[in-house]
């Protein structure tokens, strides 16, 4: 595939690896956090960690949308589907996230709740049009990449007067999570910045991390060569004592980002005062809610389903993993009790989750 295959060339990967190895100083360590779950996946799938010298270490960040949703948010969706009889539409990844009472959306569906997997917000609107006598709720999750599509759908529903459509809004913000990570005191020398989030928000929102925290940020595409080049660029910044926002993904990211998408989002959503994240706790101004003029489309208000905080499974280390403080293999039940077929925590569900990525591609190498 064009613009995919060229960015996976094995010879070029070795070339970048050779540059990293020759430029990384043996006397120091480089702790680099890839914020985004897509990068976590690429690093595991292509064995990028194996191509790096031992003193260049990748730390997984919290940028996996289903991983950071706390149990209580999934419970809300399940309650809506089971108790209020709505048609609950959701992206596939959310289906298997473990919730309270040994349930997940998938299990709720098996027990008769009307839960439907959709690919696009357009599909959710269509379900609402096709079922005028039923209430249809879209579980809207994700970072800045999925937010504009939700905004489009809400505007469309308003324009069409689609009164049986609403959303459970769990959209969260990348820069706020990066602030929370740094405030948590994890030692990081630099960030590999998100790919597709940055196509929307641009490179500008990362400038405080360079200017105020002194942390280099290099925005990278999702292909393995993109990630490796970004690592090389970070090593160079650390060596030079620089802290700048650099952009490896210039083919899709500008400083300003996608203004049209940003405008749509601003029109439909506003900041929540706080939002509870798995792992990061309650983070101020880190998530979005619908603006008052779209209140009719807010499922939380429409059905009065409140968010109730629920503690994680005691054995699960997802919280520490999402803060960059632990690695999946440090969880006692990793790969034994907790597997992708039977996930105990959210990080084992999506292919972008740190535990699932390690289980699928990296567990033998890392456990040695």
């Amino acid at each position: 595939m064009k613009y995919v295959d060229e960015f996976r060339d094995g010879v070029l990967a070795k070339n970048i690896a050779a540059n990293i190895a020759s430029e990384a100083h043996a006397g120091r360590s480089y702790r680099l956090m890839e914020f985004c779950g897509g990068h976590t996946h690429a690093i595991s799938r292509y064995g990028i960690a194996d191509l790096l010298p031992a003193n260049v270490r990748m730390i997984h960040g919290p940028g996996c949308p289903v991983c950071v949703l706390p149990i209580g948010r999934i419970d809300q969706a399940i309650r809506l589907a089971r108790e209020q009889g709505v048609i609950l539409c959701t992206y596939a990844d959310t289906m298997r996230v473990p919730a309270s009472a040994n349930l997940s959306l998938m299990r709720a569906k098996a027990q008769g709740a009307d839960v439907r997997m959709i690919y696009s917000t357009q599909d959710a609107l269509q379900v609402a049009r096709d079922n005028p006598q039923r209430e249809v709720v879209f579980l809207a999750i994700g970072f800045e990449t999925t937010t504009p599509p939700t905004a489009v759908a809400v505007r469309q529903a308003a324009a069409e007067g689609l009164q049986n459509f609403s959303i459970l809004c769990d959209h969260v913000l990348t820069p706020a999570a990066m602030h929370a990570i740094l405030a948590g005191g994890v030692e990081i020398d630099g960030f590999v910045g998100p790919a597709h989030v940055s196509t929307v928000i641009g490179s500008k929102p990362y400038e405080p991390f360079a200017d105020d925290y002194g942390k280099p940020v290099v925005i990278a595409g999702f292909e393995p060569l993109d990630v490796m080049q970004a690592i090389l660029m970070l090593v160079r910044q650390v060596n030079d004592g620089r802290a700048e926002v650099e952009n490896e993904f210039t083919r899709a990211v500008t400083r300003e980002g996608n203004l049209k998408a940003q405008q749509l989002v601003a029109e439909v959503f506003e900041l929540r005062d706080r939002f509870e994240w798995r792992g990061l706790g309650s983070v101020p101004h880190s998530a979005l809610k619908l603006r008052p003029q779209f209140a009719a489309f807010d499922a939380e208000q429409k059905f009065m389903v409140e968010y109730v905080a629920v503690p994680d499974n005691k054995a699960c280390e997802c919280a520490a993993i999402l803060r960059g403080q632990k690695r999946p293999q440090e969880c006692k039940i990793f790969g034994t009790v907790c597997t992708p077929d039977n996930p105990v925590g959210s990080c084992m569900v999506s292919s972008e989750g740190a535990c699932a990525a390690h289980y699928s591609y990296g567990r033998f190498r890392e456990s040695a």
């Binding site: 595939m1 064009k2 613009y3 995919v4 060229e6 960015f7 060339d9 094995g10 010879v11 070029l12 070795k14 070339n15 970048i16 050779a18 540059n19 020759s22 985004c36 779950g37 897509g38 940028g63 996996c64 949308p65 289903v66 992206y91 596939a92 990844d93 690919y119 696009s120 917000t121 357009q122 599909d123 994700g142 970072f143 990449t145 999925t146 504009p148 599509p149 489009v152 790919a195 597709h196 989030v197 196509t199 929307v200 595409g221 999702f222 060569l225 993109d226 080049q229 490896e248 993904f249 210039t250 083919r251 899709a252 990211v253 996608n258 049209k260 998408a261 749509l264 999506s350 972008e352």
Partner: protein, 84 residues
């Protein structure tokens, strides 16, 4: 879920939609988030929407970055010459 791939616009459909080619699979997506996307252009597709257009010149420039310095010629020989 954040998986998003570059795809070529093959056909403009109504209203504000397009058919893209995703590795041989034709799929209808929404162009609501990008301005004036034309047939033949590449867009980054995510959950059924084009998130951003892909700048083909920048893509070439980035590919050249990957080849800078290092032992590229030796590596090519070692791995049997041509690209895989």
């Amino acid at each position: 879920m954040c998986l998003a791939i570059p795809a070529r616009i093959e056909e403009l459909t109504t209203p504000g939609n397009a058919i893209v080619n995703l590795g041989g699979v034709r799929k209808e997506i929404s162009l609501a988030l990008v301005d004036d996307a034309a047939i033949g252009e590449y867009v980054i597709v995510h959950v059924g929407y084009a998130l951003q257009k892909l700048d083909q010149e920048e893509a070439e420039r980035t590919l050249q970055l990957f080849a800078e310095m290092g032992q590229l010629d030796e590596l090519r020989e070692e791995m049997g010459g041509n690209r895989p």
